[in-house]
Symmetry: C2
Subunit: 257 residues, 2 copies
DNA sequence: TAGTGGTCTAGACCACGAC
DNA sequence: TCGTGGTCTAGACCACTAT
């Protein structure tokens, strides 16, 4: 696949099939997917860009259109690409609609999906705690940014947020304050870091004094705590975010698969 | 597609393409998927059954193997089928491993995934409340079963559960008490009802007197409330389940997509 | 060795969007 | 009208499982 067309049944090489003798087998379309993902990571294909057509990619990579299609379909299923019949295939953008659908799962009980507004509280350099360093795969006590925000839905403050970012990957962040509402679009546009997926742990906790003051509720009020790790295209953890939400008239929407 | 091979470019009929003149277009592989799903709903293909090979299905339905494959792949992605290379394609079973992975998202913080044990508390016929009737798409005050259970992880009671079922679809349920731990396998085996997917709403709530007594915690303790609607293969709501969970040392694991 | 699903290719036509 | 992705077909070979 590296160059030229793949000849099958005629001395297939390890490089072509991706398998050494007896070793694991690596499908061509996954190799194609990796190659395309690398271009996105490297910044060659930024968010919003129109990709070459399937035919061009197939010719360029020396595989059939069907193989390119399988790679593109898989990446579109993971929201890394957006395919539009008649127009082409585009690198996914971290626009509000997508973020709202994929990452922000808190909804009013009536089913609407308003976009959350953010009020920055503080941004400061700090050292990673033990758990934070482990989750972000940083050295113990590595330098991090610590960002606090208050988020509101329909103008009502509902969520406190604490965000921890690796210092080294977000240089000169302090000069960019106040940070915008849509952080993931900001990471992509300014630092070239695309958030590809996230893992969340949910708990019910009692509001502490700070949460109670920020949200205007009583100390001890049950809050929904969402502990998120967000990963980049390269599968490295990029952000740790702890949100605590009032859920009297709102809920977290989940569709287990 | 109904019978014989599809001839393309030679007077394709509305039945073949699935589209009336100017109306929406319905891909063949979706029509195949519907046909296969109907066989599962009708009980012709029960859980665990080995399907005919792709070639046989293609011949039987008058489409190409590739079209059958696309339908089977889509159904496997939705956990309705399980494909095993070298062996064949099987109707998915509601076995513990799958249930644990797909539907039961509460985990100890250490990352293990023990299977939850259940203690039945009560089972009685009742009338649906207003909200319940709406969620289950029943007539107001329709008859329902009301089932309460206490669930434990590693022997520790952690979850109270209230389950509401449409009376008409679960006849003679009282004669089957005590109900087994794995209810979804029970629905499938006894009533021929397969749970295909679920939607969940999560909130943080304060423990009431009953929850506190059952879970051995203080009244007012924050609990994670999971409000689930489970749907059958026919997309009809089958079960409404409200769980309240202690999350001191456990969490609900979510992977937003 | 036979049979299954998995991958890969090649080519045709359809639906959609832009021009 | 053209170019794009979407669907459908046909056939070859590969990887895995059971016999």
């Amino acid at each position: 696949m590296v160059q030229g067309s793949v000849k099958r049944g005629a001395e297939p090489t390890a490089a072509e099939t991706g398998s050494g003798a007896g070793l694991g087998f690596r499908p061509l379309y996954l190799q194609v997917r990796e190659k395309l993902t690398e271009r996105m990571i490297g910044g060659l294909w930024p968010p919003g860009m129109l990709l070459p057509s399937e035919q061009r990619l197939a010719a360029e990579l020396g595989v059939s259109q069907g193989t390119v299609r399988k790679a593109l379909d898989a990446m579109a299923a993971d929201h890394l690409l957006v395919r539009r019949q008649g127009r082409g295939t585009f690198v996914a953008e971290q626009e509000e609609g997508r973020i709202l659908f994929q990452f922000f799962r808190l909804r009013p009980d009536d089913g609407r999906a308003p976009f959350p507004e953010s009020t920055p509280i503080s941004l400061r350099p700090d050292r990673a705690g033990e758990e934070e360093a482990e989750l972000l795969r940083l050295a113990p006590r590595a330098r991090v940014w610590r960002l606090q925000r208050l988020r509101a839905l329909d103008g009502v403050p509902l969520i406190t947020e604490e965000i921890v970012l690796p210092f080294e990957r977000f240089r000169r962040l302090e000069k960019m304050a106040p940070l915008p509402n849509n952080l993931y679009a900001f990471y992509a546009g300014v630092f070239g870091i695309t958030i590809a997926r996230a893992e969340e742990r949910l708990k019910a906790v009692a509001a502490g004094p700070e949460d109670a003051a920020a949200l205007g509720c009583l100390k001890g009020t049950p809050l929904l705590e969402v502990d998120r790790i967000a990963f980049g295209l390269d599968e490295k953890p990029v952000e740790r975010r702890i949100s605590r939400c009032l859920t009297d008239a709102h809920h977290y929407s989940s569709t287990p698969r």
